[in-house]
């Protein structure tokens, strides 16, 4: 099976070209990291994969689990097992976290023709996952991201991931804004969640996160494409001398 293959992807927004013949292959169970200077197109890549309709795909192909990903709409991609932890999670006042996540997981289960979760079993699952991630259960009564601190928003993205149990998770700077302890809790969460079937694409600016997670591959991205790939030592190179050598 082809898990994820992006082939010569070109993407623009409002006429401005952002992704430029972008290529990557991620296999089942692999952890990839992408580093790159501000504005090089990392979030664009993440959002195009999630199906954001603001971007225009000019050419290229994306295969996810043997299917043409670009043919699917936003929710179909999520139901197929793709999850994006947003760089800037949006606040949605009035929409309560618990029913929102329950509806989300149930649409996925429904799609997989599995029985849906009732209120009670979902509440149990959510509480368990929240406790694992050190998230105060009081937070589960609140509206989505509304009034959350920067770090709380990131933790809440991780919580959603662990409840929805995706096969491909994209972290868009999920480590930014987390305090030391939170970073530890979050990386432990990710490590616990890792298994031979789950893959990750981690977008980050810091080596620290990668030290905890041990990616299989590290890529450096500039001007909308990957300019160098290697192992974790590439991250140290970036940490020491920045991007000008790439």
């Amino acid at each position: 099976m082809i898990f994820l293959n992006i082939n010569n992807l070109n993407v623009s927004i409002e006429g401005k070209k952002i992704l430029n013949d972008f290529n990557i292959t991620i296999n089942e169970g692999e952890v990839h990291a992408i580093m790159g200077p501000n504005g090089c197109g990392k979030s664009t890549l993440a959002n195009v994969l999630a199906g954001n309709e603001d971007y225009e795909v000019n050419s290229g192909k994306v295969i996810f689990k043997d299917e043409d990903l670009l043919d699917l709409n936003i929710e179909e991609r999520a139901q197929k097992g793709l999850f994006l932890a947003f760089q800037y999670p949006v606040e949605i006042p009035g929409v309560n976290i618990t029913p929102f996540l329950q509806a989300s997981i149930n649409s996925k289960l429904k799609n997989e023709k599995k029985p849906e979760l009732d209120n009670l079993s979902f509440a149990k699952l959510l509480r368990k996952k929240a406790e694992e991630l050190g998230i105060n259960t009081d937070m589960l009564k609140r509206s989505i991201n509304t009034g959350f601190s920067g770090g709380e928003k990131k933790r809440y993205e991780i919580l959603q991931m662990s409840v929805l149990n995706p096969e491909l998770t994209i972290f868009d700077e999920t480590d930014s804004g987390l305090d030391v302890d939170a970073l530890k809790i979050v990386t432990e969460g990710i490590n616990r969640f890792k298994n031979p079937k789950n893959s990750f694409l981690i977008i980050t600016h810091y080596q620290k996160l990668l030290d905890y997670i041990h990616p299989d591959h590290v890529h450096v991205m500039r001007n909308g494409k990957i300019v160098k790939s290697g192992d974790i030592s590439l991250a140290s190179e970036v940490e020491v001398s920045g991007y000008q050598n790439f």
């Binding site: 709409n73 936003i74 949006v90 949605i92 989300s104 649409s107 799609n111 929805l164």
Partner: protein, 408 residues
């Protein structure tokens, strides 16, 4: 039928035919409209209404086999059914309700008049054919469900008086059960006496061929409160014009509403709060969801007289426009003549937040489901402090509305 024909042929139904003062007043009002002697351009009372539509109608009012009732659902929980504007005369130790007669002309002469430029109220005066006098006695705690049944083709012009006496605590619900092709021009005069607490919930859910023009004037005395909520799920035309007067210190009033429009539905809303005493609080909030080619307007107004120091007044309008073809006109106004006041107004009207929609969908929810979740959240806070039954009724209406959206 023309206004003139209606006026000439249906004069006998007018309640106060015997009273010279009121009859003269009526005659003058008629002339004013007939001679188009009023502000036709900037008349808020005609927003979203064409005068010819309201002046040409088939007057029809023959309440014969009516069967109004007063019943107790529970202890201190009344159900009162008005049929074509008529109630059953009834009195017990807590309430008194009766139809007005021409002997009641005095209360008419004395009614608070805040509707000087309101053409709809002029029509109410010209064609007045019914009215009730409703007294809720002091120190009682009650629930009242008032059901307005109007028969097919009826034109009801009604002027009602409700007195909430001292210290009473009342939850009043109005339900409009209109059959077909009816016109309902209903004006409420509401008096809330000292320390009385009134919650007034008004449900409007009827079919396309009916029209409802609902106006109210409430007066709050010292330490009393009046909270009004209108819920408009109607396909037919609705006009909600509500005025509240805070005449006693430490009184408070809120005039709130939610409307849910589809197809070519139209509604016209106005709220107006007059602060005449110190230390009073008011809130005016209208929210609407508009689909297809629907149209709404909302005027809000806070007036603070010079002796109404320490006033707090809030105004807010919120709207979600689901298509490019619907429109929501909103105009807040503040007129303040005291210096120590806190007043604010705000307005947010626009399409559904695309980034919110994207976020919800990115977790696997369908576009439809996500849309529904966002729309329900829009009135979520309005359901929090409501009686369970009422909240349920509203959420049922809301899910019907949401269902209708996906069928479009």
């Amino acid at each position: 039928m023309t206004l003139e024909n209606n006026f000439i042929h249906h004069s006998k139904e007018y309640i106060f035919l015997d009273n010279e003062t009121l009859s003269n007043h009526r005659e003058n009002t008629y002339k004013k409209i007939f001679q188009k002697n009023y502000d036709r351009k900037n008349n808020e009372s005609l927003k979203n209404i064409t005068i010819s539509d309201v002046s040409k109608f088939n007057y029809f009012y023959k309440p014969t086999k009516t069967n109004p009732t007063v019943s107790l659902i529970d202890d201190l929980n009344y159900k009162i059914k008005l049929v074509d504007g008529i109630c059953k005369n009834y009195e017990d130790e807590y309430i008194e309700i009766r139809n007005i007669t021409n002997l009641d002309f005095k209360i008419f002469l004395n009614q608070v008049n805040n509707n000087l430029d309101d053409i709809i109220i002029d029509f109410n005066k010209i064609f007045l054919n019914s009215g009730i006098f409703f007294n809720i006695k002091s120190d009682t705690k009650l629930k009242i469900r008032l059901v307005h049944d109007t028969s097919e083709n009826f034109t009801v012009f009604q002027n009602n008086f409700i007195n909430f006496n001292k210290n009473c605590e009342v939850q009043l619900e109005d339900h409009f059960n209109l059959t077909n092709n009816s016109i309902n021009n209903i004006n409420y005069n509401i008096h809330v006496d000292e320390k009385a607490v009134v919650k007034h919930n008004i449900f409007q859910n009827f079919r396309n061929s009916n029209k409802l023009y609902l106006t109210s004037n409430s007066v709050c005395e010292k330490k009393s409160s009046y909270h009004q909520n209108t819920y408009n799920f109607s396909e037919g035309f609705v006009r909600n014009f509500h005025h509240a007067h805070l005449n006693g210190e430490y009184s408070n009033a809120s005039l709130k509403g939610c409307f849910f429009l589809k197809n070519k539905n139209i509604c016209s809303n106005k709220t107006n709060i007059i602060h005449n005493a110190v230390n009073c609080v008011s809130d005016q909030t209208y929210k609407g969801i508009l689909n297809a080619h629907s149209k709404a307007s909302y005027y809000s107004n806070t007036f603070v007289s010079e002796n109404a120091q320490k006033t707090e007044g809030y105004q807010l309008s919120k709207g979600i426009l689901l298509t490019d073809n619907c429109s929501f006109f909103s105009k807040p106004e503040l007129r303040i003549f005291a210096d120590d006041v806190k007043c604010s107004h705000g307005s947010t009207i626009g399409p559904v937040d695309e980034s919110a929609l994207y976020y919800l969908r990115s977790r696997g929810m369908s576009k439809n489901e996500a849309m529904k979740m966002i729309i329900s959240s829009f009135i979520e806070e309005d359901l929090l402090n409501l009686d369970k039954n009422i909240a349920k009724e509203i959420s049922n209406n809301l899910s019907d509305y949401l269902k209708s959206l996906s069928n479009d």
